[in-house]
């Protein structure tokens, strides 16, 4: 019986991993095979560590001091599941050209998938707006450089709430270019699903 139980757990875990990988694959826009500057985006925030969570007095919580990667924003447990007001979008630029790169710029845009609060199926993507441009980025051969910028989720939620709407997802896109050159060396994007409570 225990063996069967663990097999079930292992199967469930495997299914979960597969689902996560599939979701990532769907969210990420893979760069072309011929490009050797690769960019990717992840999301992170500060949250409580497990040792902080255990027995925590929610009325007097300690400062959040542990960086966690976010696959989604979800309010299903006020303490146990990260649902930060502000999330950091982290763009990583990998130089696989074999030569140093300089004078790079990274343009980061955001979009929101918004719709009526109780109807996720009716949500649509807004047009993109430039969040930030990073310039004069240098990356040594074989190395990587990261840029990160905060995205204020709470502000967006508060604005939309006035219209009885909800941001069901955040999309961050990044283009890496040589300054003064229109064609992008690399493009990527990532989505952060935003799930309200029931």
């Amino acid at each position: 019986m225990p063996t069967r139980h663990y097999l079930l757990q292992a199967t469930a875990g495997l299914l979960c991993c597969c689902a996560t990988m599939l979701a990532c694959a769907q969210n990420a826009k893979p760069p072309s095979a011929d490009k050797t500057v690769l960019a990717n985006i992840s999301f992170a925030c500060l949250w409580w560590s497990e040792s902080q969570m255990e027995g925590m007095n929610p009325n007097s919580p300690p400062p959040k001091n542990t960086e966690v990667k976010l696959a989604k924003w979800e309010y299903s447990d006020p303490i146990g599941v990260p649902h930060p007001d502000v999330v950091d979008a982290i763009v990583t630029v990998n130089n696989q050209t074999g030569a140093a790169l300089s004078n790079l710029e990274v343009e980061v845009t955001v979009q929101w998938k918004t719709g009526p609060s109780r109807k996720a199926s009716a949500a649509v993507w807004t047009s993109g707006s430039v969040l930030k441009q990073f310039r004069d980025i240098k990356v040594e051969p074989g190395a990587q450089q990261t840029v990160r910028m905060p995205v204020d989720l709470k502000k967006e939620m508060d604005e939309l709430e006035k219209q009885n709407k909800w941001p069901f997802a955040l999309r961050v896109s990044a283009e890496v270019r040589q300054i003064g050159v229109a064609a992008a060396l690399s493009e990527t994007r990532a989505d952060l699903p935003i799930t309200p409570g029931d």
Binding site: D77, P78, R118, E161
Partner: protein, 229 residues
């Protein structure tokens, strides 16, 4: 044909999916405050105003739509000024840890109807009798006044409580049905104890091997328990 009482007029609808002209919203906010809403009179039809409209409509319906039409029952009643918003008489879940439960949400989010709070305490006590080293984690319930509890859709009527599944190690930490520390046996017993209580209405939870729970998206890591009263 309904006869409109004399007084202010609306040029458009106000509230959820309403036209929400600023002048109209302001008039409705003023009338709602006369009825005891206690909301900002800013001409902006936000969640607070819609919530107040809903609470006002609860005077005659269990299914408020949060909207005031130019000609309709809500507007007529507001103009007549006879009905008042009934303030929910919710009580706070005692925060004392060690009575078979612990809180994992702030105190302002742990209000419920007296029967709901009593049920939670009773079930926690019963659970503690059988498992004295384990405690039930109780999270969001309702606000004291039944206001909208962002980002929840529900949790306004004082009859909902989120409860963490039990863990094999008994730690006061979150878990979900796919984690190895999740204890199906203990969680199942907890569900049975709730089901044995006459005040239980329903439990949303995604471990479908447990009898008496209903699968619902987003409920891998908590039981959404709803009471009858």
């Amino acid at each position: 044909m309904a006869v409109q009482p004399s007084g202010p007029m609306l040029l458009g609808s106000v509230g959820r999916h309403g036209q929400n002209r600023e002048e109209d919203v302001l008039v409705v906010q003023q009338l709602l405050n006369t009825a005891g809403a206690g909301i900002d009179e800013d001409g902006d039809c936000g969640r607070g105003t819609i919530s107040a409209i809903e609470e006002y409509q609860r005077n005659w319906t269990k299914h408020p739509d949060g909207k005031v039409d130019r000609v309709g029952r809500t507007w007529t009643n507001l103009l007549q000024g006879k009905l008042k918003i009934k303030k929910a008489a919710y009580i706070v879940l005692p925060q004392a840890c060690g009575n078979g439960y612990y809180s994992y949400s702030t105190m302002d989010r742990q209000f419920g109807t007296p029967p709901t709070v009593a049920t939670l305490i009773d079930v926690a006590k019963l659970f503690a009798v059988h498992y004295p080293t384990m405690q039930i984690g109780i999270g969001d319930m309702s606000f004291k006044n039944g206001a909208h509890m962002a980002p929840h859709v529900t949790h306004r009527n004082g009859r909902n409580a989120d409860i963490r599944p039990l863990r094999k190690d008994g730690k006061m930490l979150p878990t979900d049905i796919l984690k190895p520390e999740y204890s199906r046996d203990h969680t199942s017993e907890l569900v049975d104890m709730f089901r044995a209580n006459l005040n239980l209405h329903s439990i949303l939870f995604n471990d479908s091997t447990i009898k008496g729970v209903t699968h619902f998206e987003g409920h891998d890591n908590h039981l959404h328990v709803t009471m009858k009263e």
